[in-house]
Each structure stands twice: as C-alpha cells, then as structure tokens.
Symmetry: C2
Subunit: 343 residues, 2 copies
C-alpha cells in the first residue's frame, strides 16, 4: 500500500516468457526428478517400493477466495496446502505438485510473482517439488488447478473405507476457525466498501484470520501416527466441514457415527467470535470447512497410545447404524447431522 | 435439437451426488490401479522399470472453446486428447488422467453427462484410466483442467532438448486444418447469430471441422517410431502452432531450423478453405495450432527407415544458427519465422 510501484501487464510478456520468468529461479530438490518444468511433461523415477498417490483440486476466484482480502502470496500457499492435504489424508507423503493457472488481464506479472512466492514457500515448507503446470488466459478472474503426487508404503495407506463399529473417531487441531476467519474478513470488507476511510479491525483475531488465509496441512499428524505405530482404519481431511467428511467416512465404511458436542475442539478465539457474530460455535465446527485438519478413526486398541496427545481429540465413535451420523448434546439429546454438498 | 428434453439443474444435485452420478458406471481397466475415483486421492502401483511422465493443461470457455458450436461430447474428447498428446510428445504412453471441472449454473446435469461421455470415449480409445478429479462452481462459464500421467522406458524418453545440427525435422499428418476448421465454425456462428433461420453450411468440410472439434493424439506415430527402432532426438506436439513449437525445440536444443515451404503438409480441404477465406495456407500451417500432430527430429542415419512413410513428412533440418528459424520459399527466398506466445 501507498507504494507507487510499476506494474507489468501480462500481454506484453508472452506465455512462454512468463513461465520462464516465474520458474527460472526455482531449483528442484528431489533426486528422482529426471526432468521438471519446461518440456511437454515432467519425468520422475518412481520409488518401486511405494504406491503412488494422486489428487487434484480446483480453486476459483469469488467462489473459493476473494482477492479483496486474500494476499496472493497467501493464496498460493493455501492452494498448495489444500492440494497436499488430500495426500496426507491417505497417510501418504506428498512429493510433487503441478500448478495450472488461468487469469484475466487484471492480473499483472507482479501479482503472479507474488502468487508463486506463496507456492514456493509451501513447497519449501512441505518438501514438495513443483514439476510442471500450464498458464492460460481467462475472460474473468483467476482459477488455480493443482495436482499433487505423493507416495505411501503399500501396507500403510488409509482410505475412507475401513472404519469398523466401535472404532474411535479422532480429529486433529481445532475446528470452525477458518470459517469464522472468513466471516470476519467478509465483515471488514463490507465495512471498507461502505467507508474506505475505515481500516480493517482484525485485532485479537490473528489466529482465526490465519486459519482462513494461511492454513497448514497436517504433515505432523501423519508423522505422529507413524511414530506411535498407529495406522488409522479410515481417514479424510476436513476441507468441506466435519459434517460432510463424516458422511464420506460413514458411506464408504458403511458405518454410522455418534459424536459428542462437548468434545468438539473449538479454539477460544473461535468461540468468542462466534458469539460476536451470534453464530452457534457447534454449527461452525460442523459445517465450517477449510480447516484442513485430519479426521480419522482408530481401533480401540490404539486408544492408550493416543489418549494423552493434546493435539488429537477423540470426538466420538463408529456405530453399526449405516450412514446415520448423530450429534449427542451435553444433556444427552441426539440430533441427526446434516451436511452440505449432499442433497 | 427440436427435443423437449428435461434438464436437471446442478444445484438440486449436490457435489458428491454429482461426482457419483458422473462416475458410477465407469470401470477402471488398469490392473495396477489400487484405488480410483471416490477417495481423497487415487493409488497406483508404479511400474518399477519405467519413468513416470506427468503433464497438465487448462481449457477455458471462450478462450479455448466456444460451446455455441462445440458439442460437449467432443469437448470432453478433445480435452483428453490435448492432455495425453503431451505424454506422447515425450515418446511415452499415457496411463491415467484426472479431470477437474469448474462450471457456472447454466450447465445442467445432462450437459455434464455429455461432457463425460466424450471423456470416457477418449479414455476407451487411448486406453487410459480416469482416476480422479474435482468439481467446482464457477461464476462464469466452464473450465477444464486435466492432468495426464504416463510411463516410458528410461532409455526411450524424448525431450525438446537433444536435436543436433543436420538432424532432419519431421512432422506427422497435416497442418493448419484445425485452425481453418475454427475459422469456418466462427463464420457459420456469425451467420447463425445474424439470421437464426440459416443452417450452418459445413458441407464438403467434414475433415476440417473434425480437425477442430475432434482431434486425435498421435499414439500411432509413437508406436510407428518404436516399431522402426527410431528414437527421435527431440519431440514436441503441435498445440500452439508449428512456428511456436519450432522455437521451443530450437531454444531447448540450442539449434536453428530451416524449413521448406513446399514441404509443409497441408490437406486439400485446408488449401481450398484458406483460399475461400483469403488466408495464406502457409501461415495457417505455421501458426494455426491445435492440430496435435507430432513435430520431431531424427538423426540422418534414420532417414532410410522413415522416408517412404506417407504419414510423416520431412519438412526441414536443424542448423547451427541457434534460435534462428527460417522458412525457405520455393523460389529460394528465406524468411525469419515469428511465433505467437513469444514476445
């Protein structure tokens, strides 16, 4: 802000010069990468002892993000996190990503460089290599499509199908923060649009805002489970919301779940902000999404190994009532859990 | 047309039901696919004797396609072809694809099913498996992002860098057709917009229209080269146009190229239509793009093996004038070739 910086239009640059410019200082780190960015395709020598894991996801401006309050560097970082989070959810390790971008002419070279700074920062942090991509023009806005590739031992991968009755349902970290961060940023945007003199008031909510703008993938949880010799019976990452992910596990594993409202891990900032917004914190935890925590089930025999870990909360258990997910309140009432994206 | 069919809005369907609906009848064929669509990620057992090949590309409505004259089934087919064409350009064999789609509310379930019909038809034809993807909403139009994965023997992959001075420059099939098909469809669209009573007049141009709407990837050329025991010294697929691809090979291989105008393979329908549009057929062949033919170089010692093949044309040779690409006319004049996308 307040800078008088020079902006370079993408039109003046040409697609191939652009790719070169964005990737020229990037050095691949993986020894098994034979050929990275800059040809028709990338070449990788696979690890013969592992299974390959592939996931892809799409982010669209004004659907998944709003650049009015999302710094592009954070957006690039978050796009990588969202993409490799699916790999961790298989109990696997991400190794490579590919990033395709379509953008309208409002985006300058400098804007794209910022976006790539965030992409590279996440690659560095999570030790993944950017091996390719595509750039394209768009009549409107910015779209990002990322593909992540990882690997996993053949006897260690975890799917959504494998949970058995009485398995314990666990969640990492806390829930609802990313959703309330989104509500807060939307509110401050409305205030700013109504009165551009007003500066955004995010004080005291740095954790919540960070949950929305710069989430992390739970690499540490996958490593923790490995060090504790726990292979979850089923696992999924929380991108759409606990309620929706629960339904995925229930359907694929052909079980039901009962979860306890008072066990849902919710941060104090989330609680405080939910009350400020007159929102029910439980609803935020259930339906918020974008927390990128891991939701997984373990056999009861693994309970002792995990019970004292402060970052993992056991929130319920699997039942034999196929596809029925219930919330049990502190008073003992039971409610069917509804989920978004499932009509 | 003239049908009074029922259309189903996507809103009424829910994201996860949609994915299920689009993929429920699809049966994966690859024995090494451990887990396909329907989890956080797909799992594949790699072939330990091969390198993995990865490519990705992005198609955006009104930039890369116009649904006014592109049947969605053809669009799905073409998206797969464009994506696996990059794998063949590495002298490799595509094995898997992932398809991510963002679409606005104007697209119905029936429209998406048509798109997937085309995707599945291409998967069938090219023996690739659809292993995953993502669906998303878009404020405007349709975007497709495809990732293709393939494999290649470690001693057989071909990059853009490897061409040496005096290597022969070869191209498969013919050029400029897809571009003229596009011109023709655009003209008929303008006629139709001006007067909706007029039916499009595409008679006699089925080949050209097919080049634009339903291109094929040159799997057969990769197989031919293998059967002839030829490993090209460099290769690229023609998606942006001969001139642009030539420049890629020149830069990466640090050579120049001289090509002969009268050698450029141009179909008679292309010639005829170029003349009708008052366009120079050579310019169409050089800059048209989207033909998805293969452009490759071979050592002179391979000349005898390939010279009699009707589907491969030797159009020129590599020079030691780094990055200088020249067109030699029948009269012997030389022109520097300019390429799009390179400012």
């Amino acid at each position: 802000m307040f800078e008088n910086s020079t902006k370079t239009s993408l039109d003046s640059f040409g697609e191939f010069n652009l790719i070169k410019k964005l990737t020229e200082n990037y050095v691949s780190k993986k020894p098994n990468l034979i050929l990275g960015i800059g040809d028709d395709a990338a070449l990788v020598k696979p690890n013969p002892d592992k299974l390959q894991v592939y996931s892809t996801n799409f982010m669209v401006e004004n659907i998944n993000f709003d650049i009015a309050y999302t710094p592009l560097k954070h957006l690039g970082y978050k796009a990588v996190v969202a993409s490799i989070s699916d790999i961790y959810a298989m109990n696997a390790t991400p190794k490579f990503i590919m990033v395709s971008i379509a953008m309208s002419s409002k985006y300058t070279l400098e804007a794209l460089e910022e976006l790539y700074e965030g992409i590279y920062a996440a690659c560095e942090k999570y030790e993944v290599d950017l091996i390719g991509g595509d750039t394209n023009t768009s009549p409107q806005g910015l779209s990002l499509s990322l593909t992540a590739c990882g690997e996993v031992d053949e006897n260690k991968y975890v799917t959504r199908a494998g949970c058995k009755m009485n398995d314990l349902l666990c969640v990492s970290g806390d829930l609802g923060g990313a959703y309330l961060g989104h509500q807060l940023l939307e509110r401050e945007k409305r205030v700013f649009v109504a009165n551009p003199e007003m500066q955004p008031d995010l004080e005291g909510y740095d954790y919540i805002v960070g949950r929305q703008l710069k989430p992390e993938a739970r690499k540490d949880v996958v490593e923790l489970l490995d060090s504790l010799n726990i292979i979850p019976t089923s696992m999924i990452d929380i991108s759409n919301g606990l309620a929706s992910e629960l339904k995925h596990l229930a359907i694929k594993s052909n079980v039901g779940f009962s979860i306890f409202e008072e066990k849902l891990p919710v941060d104090t900032q989330t609680l405080q902000l939910a009350s400020e917004f007159h929102l029910d914190a439980t609803m935020c935890a259930l339906n918020g999404g974008e927390d990128y925590e891991l939701l997984f089930t373990i056999g009861q025999s693994d309970f002792e190994k995990i019970k004292s870990n402060m970052d993992i909360t056991i929130i319920g258990y699997a039942t034999d009532q196929a596809n029925i997910c219930q919330l049990i309140t502190p008073s003992g009432s039971q409610f069917d859990i509804k989920a978004q994206g499932w009509n």
